[in-house]
Every structure is written in structure tokens, then in C-alpha cells.
């Protein structure tokens, strides 16, 4: 019995599946194309199953809509100018919530002057937004925990309202299990696995504001953040090309707390210690989902987006970093928010 092997190409505009040539003139038989691979799900289709074969032979694969692995981001980067944003922070610090809230806000209206121009990862966004929807049966907005050990990226294309006739800005924003960062700050080998951070145009380092608001964990949280940045610099993961923004998330927990001085405890300390070794270091406060009536939900999100949109980026490091990951593709699994 012959096994039917089904091949997939996610590259928009590529005619290889219709018998044409590869859009990038790559020899797909040598397994060199990042967009073209064997769909193993169909390996067990047998010759004698003629109906199923007929159906499959007449189907055309569309782009998956899911988050992209670093390799797969080339479907965007090869076609458009894009900005790669790496979000760094420990588990539950608010990395995925930040991503989700940008997409949720765009579903309601433009983010001030920024209009939604498309996304090749809408399914990935939909999954991440689910626990913020009435359909999830949650009583208050929540976010499923990202459990993937590999970097993957969500795509968002935005246009300024006064430049609708121009090309959009394409953002590729990372999402990864926060535990990877906790582990990396104490291990050279594990820090070296985060080489993708060297390719980022912007690195957003998120410190959990809820932990800072709790006095018992305040000092520890700030020290651990400093340790990560120090380790990343000493292992050359961060360097003089790194454009770093340090954000304190869940600012609604600290907004009314007079015992915490952001300028002194965060800005002065981090700037003093790291500014000379980085390309740039800036600071921001975020409250993606504020529970403080005095502080609007989405606090800081627009300003952060504006800085990514308007800032010119340094020349991207030309050498693609060696990617150390356990499989050739990254897959996400989600757990319930309380799990």
C-alpha cells in the first residue's frame, strides 16, 4: 500500500502547489524552504480510500492563522519591512495579556490613530483572548498561561490614520512561557538558548507590578529583574544594539501606593546600572486590565505601541541566530487560567 504524502506551503502568492515554481526559487526537494513541509497528519491515508483521496487532492491549504515559529516569521519578513518585538518576563507577569489586549482593543475601535491593517495570526490571537470573552464563562477577564518552551510570534499590521495609502507597519511580537526567563537568569546554557533576543528590534522587559505591590516580594522581584538583565548582558544576549524598555505591569496595583517610587526604585537603579552597556533603555508603566477605578484599563498601551511604531530601528543583525529548540516547529498548549 502506498502512503500519500501531503505537502503544504504557507507562503502567500507561492504557486508551488498548483504545479508552478517556488516563489523564492528554492529547491523544495532539498527541504530548504521554511514554508514547505510534509503534513504528517495525512501519512496514514491509504490507496484504497479513493473518496478521501479525491477530497484531499482537491483541497487547497490556507495559511494556518496560528502563531508563527521564528522560522515561519519569514512569511512576513521576506515580504514586508517588519519590526520584531521580544517580550521578556516571568510567568504571570502579563506578557500574553498585553498581546491579547492590543487585539481586543482593535476589535472595538482603532487604538487612537492606529488602524488594524491585518494579521496572519488571527487564530493565535483568538485563543489568547478567549478567557477575556463572555463565551469562556469567566467572571472577570483572564488569560490562559502560555506553556510553550519555544519562541513564537503573533503578527499585527497597523497603519496610521493619516497614512492609510502607505504600507502598514508589520509587528511580530513574541510569546513564550515565562519560566524560560526564570531559568535563564541562573544558567549560561539556558540564557544562550535565548539568542532570538539578539534579533529583536525592541525588547520589552516586564516586571510584575502585583509582586512589587506586595511588600514581601517587592525587593526579590526587582532584584531578579536586575539579575536577568545583568546575565543577558554578560552572556552577550543583550548588548549595545539592544533597545530595551523596562515596564512595570499591573500598575493598577501600585497606582495609589505612596510607598513605591517608580522613578527612584526602577528608573534610577536600572539606568544607573545598565544604560552604558545597552543601545537604549527606557521605562514605562502598564495596566492592560486595570482593576483600579481611578486608572483606565489599557493604561500605557497606546504610548508603548506608538514608541514601537514611530521609533526608527537599528540595522537588524544580519546573521540569523542559531536557534536551539527541541523541535522544528513550535506548538502552543494552553491551560485554564487557574490551573
Amino acid at each position: 500500500m502506498e502512503t500519500q504524502i501531503k505537502k503544504i506551503c504557507h507562503q502567500p502568492g507561492c504557486k508551488i502547489l498548483e504545479g508552478g515554481s517556488c516563489l523564492e526559487s528554492i529547491d523544495v526537494t532539498k527541504d530548504e524552504c521554511p514554508h514547505f513541509y510534509v503534513d504528517n497528519e495525512n501519512d496514514d491515508v491509504k490507496d484504497d480510500n479513493s473518496n478521501a483521496q479525491t477530497k484531499q487532492s482537491t483541497s487547497v491549504k490556507l495559511f494556518t492563522g496560528r502563531e508563527l515559529s521564528f522560522k515561519e516569521t519569514s512569511i512576513i519578513t521576506d515580504r514586508y519591512d517588519s519590526k520584531l518585538i521580544a517580550i521578556v518576563g516571568e510567568s504571570k507577569s502579563g506578557k500574553t495579556t498585553l498581546l491579547a489586549e492590543y487585539y481586543i482593543n482593535l476589535q472595538k475601535q482603532p487604538i487612537k490613530e492606529y488602524y488594524f491593517a491585518g494579521s496572519k495570526t488571527q487564530t493565535g490571537f483568538e485563543e489568547r483572548c478567549f478567557y477575556a470573552t463572555v463565551g469562556s464563562k469567566a467572571k472577570k477577564p483572564d488569560t490562559g498561561r502560555t506553556q510553550s518552551r519555544e519562541f513564537s510570534f503573533l503578527h499585527l499590521a497597523l497603519k496610521h490614520k493619516d497614512e492609510l495609502d502607505k504600507e502598514p507597519t508589520h509587528f511580530l511580537i513574541s510569546d513564550i512561557w515565562g519560566e524560560r526567563f526564570r531559568e535563564a537568569k541562573g544558567s549560561t546554557a539556558l540564557m544562550q538558548e535565548l539568542t532570538i533576543l539578539k534579533s529583536a528590534d525592541f525588547v520589552l522587559f516586564i516586571i510584575d507590578g502585583e509582586k512589587i505591590a506586595t511588600k514581601a516580594t517587592r525587593a526579590l522581584t526587582i532584584e531578579e529583574a536586575k539579575t536577568f538583565i545583568q546575565k543577558a548582558l554578560d552572556e552577550n544576549i543583550f548588548d549595545s544594539n539592544t533597545n530595551l524598555k523596562v515596564a512595570v505591569s499591573k500598575w493598577d496595583f501600585l497606582y495609589s501606593d505612596s510607598s513605591f517610587d517608580f522613578a527612584d526604585k526602577i528608573e534610577r537603579v536600572f539606568k544607573g546600572r545598565f544604560e552604558s552597556r545597552l543601545g537604549k533603555i527606557e521605562f514605562t508603566k502598564l495596566a492592560a486590565r486595570s482593576e483600579n477605578a481611578s486608572l483606565e484599563a489599557g493604561y500605557g498601551l497606546y504610548e508603548l505601541l506608538k514608541s514601537w511604531k514611530t521609533e526608527n530601528i537599528n540595522e537588524r543583525i544580519s546573521d540569523t541566530p542559531e536557534i536551539k529548540q527541541s523541535s522544528s516547529r513550535a506548538f502552543y498548549k494552553y491551560s485554564l487560567p487557574n490551573a
Binding site: 490556507l62 491593517a117 483572548c129 470573552t133 487557574n338
Partner: protein, 286 residues
């Protein structure tokens, strides 16, 4: 002779089949000064068109008999203004198919081939569909807070599981357009007539125009269309193809007293017209 292949896209119950039925009745009618009229019935399979027209003429809800089958509709028409023969090929595709594309991430080669041949798109939206946009908890909490309610937490919540079915229509329609953009070599922008159907049920004081309706009620789709004019050139139409609410017997009785071609109306930006062919004419104009 101009052959125009038009894709009628939209979710389930968005008014695609009703529009085709009303259009068939309109071009066959004796109304004077029509922009498009029937040229000939020769060499055409019009049984499906006659079946759905029969329901429409009797003010019955127009239904598809087979949700999985694409009905290939062809109308041989004459453009009165320039005496040009216009062939309309409109595959009547069920709304489920567009949902399935989002879920399965594949389409048939027939659909793919159609997409590569289309001259324009009629994008149908049912303004009463509760799935047009997602309900977010934060918005519900705002309302609850105003009513004096106390927010609950997520302890002991039996969470639902995410599936593609829970995705809103506006996200799915953006994806439908993105699929087309990904599969078709677009040299000149494809014209898209955005049809907000059942316009007779819309409170015009709140939504003065179809474009404003889309901007307010499906903002993600609206932004996408505004940003992608290099691929899609939109125009907005509020269409009442039935002319009344078929659940209201008094309305039906009144409508049966009216000439069938007088029932439908179309809301443009600044005027109401009785020409049901307007969204087609706009698509087929050079």
C-alpha cells in the same frame, strides 16, 4: 459581451440567497428604466433561480435546500445604458463554507479557482447577527458596575473550551478577505460591495449610513477595509431585499399589495434608491 464573475461572501443567514432571489425577480420584472434587465433565458439553467424567486414573490423566507452545495447561478442580462450584454456568474455559496475555511484552514480547488477569476465581491452582513462581534467580559462588567453589581472572581468557574466556532463574524470576514488576498494575484484592487442586509430593521437615527453602521458595529472589518485599498476597493450599501419583516403578518399583507419590484430598497450614503442592481452595477463599472 462582458462576463462578470462575482463572489457572494458572507456568514450563514446574511442575506445572500434572498438578494439573488430578489435580483432575479427584479431583472425579470416589467419595471421601466432598469439599469440591468434580462437579456435571454436561452442556454441557462434557471431552475434554482426560479425556485428561490417563487419563495421571495410569495413573501416567504428564502431558504437554501442544500447547505453543502454551491449553486451555480448565471444571469444573462443587458445593460440598458450602453446596450452591452452582461453575463453574471454568481455561485451561491453557503455561509457555512466561509466559516469552514476559518476552521479547517483549507478550501476546495473550485473555490480557489473561482477566487482567481472573480471581478468583484458582494460581502453580506446580517446586522441582527449576535455573532458579528465578540462580547468581552470587561464591557459587560462596565454595564454591571453602572447598575450597582459587584464583580465576581474566577474561582470555581467551569471554563468553556476555545474553538474556532466562537470567533466573531468580523474576524472571520477579515480572514475571508485575507485568504483571497493570499491566493489571488491582485493587480488592480477588487471592488467590494459591502451589503448591510435587512436595512429596513435598522434605526436610521442611530446609524445614518451603511458605512457608519459598519464602522460602529464591526470596527475590525471596517479598519481592515480602510487600510487595504490596494487590494480591496469598498463601497457600502444598506439593502432591504425583502422590504419587510417576514415574521410580521401585517407587514407581509401590506407587501403583497405592492408590485414585487417596488419592495426592495437600497440605502446609499445620502439617498434611498429602488434599484436593486446598484451594488452589481458599481462592481461591473470600469
Amino acid at each position: 459581451m462582458n462576463t462578470n464573475r462575482i463572489l457572494f461572501a458572507g456568514m450563514y443567514d446574511s442575506g445572500k440567497t434572498t438578494f439573488i432571489a430578489a435580483l432575479w425577480a427584479y431583472v425579470n420584472s416589467d419595471k421601466k428604466d432598469k439599469h440591468l434587465k434580462l437579456n435571454t433565458l436561452a442556454n441557462s439553467e434557471n431552475e434554482y433561480l426560479d425556485t428561490i424567486r417563487a419563495e421571495w414573490l410569495q413573501c416567504k423566507k428564502v431558504t437554501r435546500t442544500n447547505l453543502n452545495k454551491t449553486e451555480n447561478v448565471k444571469m444573462n442580462l443587458l445593460n440598458e445604458s450602453n446596450s452591452e450584454n452582461v453575463i453574471l456568474e454568481i455561485p451561491d455559496i453557503s455561509g457555512e463554507l466561509f466559516s469552514n475555511h476559518f476552521q479547517s484552514r483549507e478550501c476546495t480547488s473550485e473555490y480557489d479557482s473561482l477566487v482567481n477569476q472573480i471581478n468583484g465581491i458582494l460581502l453580506f452582513i446580517n446586522p441582527n447577527d449576535k455573532k458579528n462581534r465578540t462580547n468581552f467580559i470587561a464591557d459587560s462588567l462596565e454595564i454591571e458596575k453602572e447598575l450597582g453589581g459587584t464583580p465576581e472572581n474566577n474561582e470555581n468557574v467551569n471554563f468553556a473550551t476555545w474553538s474556532e466556532e466562537q470567533t466573531s463574524n468580523q474576524v472571520k470576514l477579515v480572514e475571508t478577505l485575507q485568504f483571497i488576498e493570499a491566493r489571488k494575484d491582485i493587480v488592480t484592487p477588487i471592488k467590494v460591495s459591502v451589503i448591510v442586509s435587512r436595512w429596513d430593521l435598522i434605526e436610521e437615527e442611530e446609524c445614518p449610513s451603511p458605512e457608519k453602521w459598519l464602522q460602529t458595529n464591526m470596527p475590525l472589518l471596517y479598519q481592515y477595509l480602510k487600510c487595504n485599498t490596494n487590494y480591496f476597493k469598498p463601497s457600502y450599501f444598506g439593502v432591504s431585499a425583502q422590504g419587510c419583516d417576514y415574521d410580521n403578518q401585517d407587514d407581509i399583507d401590506k407587501m403583497l399589495d405592492v408590485e414585487p419590484f417596488e419592495r426592495p430598497f437600497i440605502r446609499l450614503e445620502n439617498e434611498v434608491i429602488k434599484d436593486l442592481t446598484a451594488p452589481i452595477i458599481w462592481l461591473t463599472e470600469k
